[in-house]
Symmetry: C2
C-alpha cells in the first residue's frame, strides 16, 4: 500500500496543507483501527506485543503514529492492526514476504524508533514472525 | 496449561470458595494482560481481530472470560494475549500445532460461543492461522 501525495494535495510552498494532514490523520487512524484487508494467504504477520513504561507518553504516541505511516510506505506492506488495553499492546502488521519484513526492520528511521522503544518506552516486548496459512471471516450477505 | 482446582480450593458443599473465584479472576487476568510465555518456535498463532457490535456488552464479557479459561485447559494451549481499543479487538492465542487449533475450534462450548459471536457480538471479524517461525524480545539483564 503506497501512501503518496499527488500535486493537488500540496499546499503553498510545497508544504502539505492542513487538508493533507487531516487526510493523513484519518488514513492513519483507519489503518490502525479497522480489520486489515489482506489478500489470500500465504503472507506474513509480525505480531508485536508490548508492555509500556510510563515514560514519555506523548513522544511515544507521536513516534508510533509516524512509524505506522512509514510502514505503510514500505514495499510489501499489506496492512496493520493495533489495540492496547490493561497495559498490554498488540500490533500486528502484515507483509508479503520475509524480505519485506527484513527491509522494514532495517529501515534507518525505524531502527532509531526501535532503539528508543527498547531504552525508554517498553518495559517488555515480544516480536513474533509468523507465516499466515489460512484466513477467514464471517459469511456476509455481501459475500454471497 | 491446566487450570485445575485442588481439594483445598473447594469451599463448603463442593462449590468453589470466594478465594478460588478470586484466584481464577487473577489467573485469567494474567493470561490476558501479559506477554505470553511461549516456547521456542515453531508453534502456531491464531490471530483473531474483531469489531464489536454494541449488543450485550455484559454477556460478551462473561463469555469472553469463560472462553479464555476453557481455551487454557485445552491440549496444546501455549498462551493468549488480548487487547481492545478504538473498537478494534485483537486476541492472539498460541498453540503447539494445527491439531490443537482444530480441536479447540470444534470444542462444543466454543462452537456455541462462536455462533453467538457471529449472530450478536461481532460486527466483523477475521481469523488468521499462522505458523510462528521466529520470536525475540529485548536483551534483558536477567537473560545474560
Amino acid at each position: 500500500m503506497q501512501v503518496s501525495l499527488g500535486e493537488d494535495d500540496q499546499g503553498v510552498c510545497g508544504t502539505p496543507s492542513a487538508g493533507v494532514l487531516l487526510d493523513h490523520y484519518f488514513s492513519n487512524e483507519a489503518l490502525m483501527t479497522q480489520i486489515a484487508k489482506t489478500p489470500e494467504p500465504p503472507y506474513y504477520a509480525v505480531i508485536f506485543t508490548s508492555e509500556r513504561t510510563e515514560t514519555d507518553a506523548e513522544g511515544y504516541a507521536t513516534m508510533a503514529d509516524a512509524m505506522v505511516e512509514l510502514a505503510a510506505k514500505q514495499p510489501g506492506f499489506l496492512g496493520i492492526e493495533s489495540a492496547r488495553s490493561d497495559g498490554l499492546g498488540i500490533t500486528v502488521s502484515y507483509w508479503s514476504d520475509l524480505a519485506a519484513i527484513a527491509n522494514w526492520k532495517a529501515n534507518s528511521e525505524h531502527l532509531s524508533a526501535q532503539r528508543l522503544g527498547q531504552s525508554q518506552w517498553y518495559e517488555d516486548y515480544q516480536v513474533r514472525i509468523a507465516r499466515v496459512e489460512k484466513a477467514y471471516g464471517p459469511q456476509k450477505f455481501s459475500d454471497l
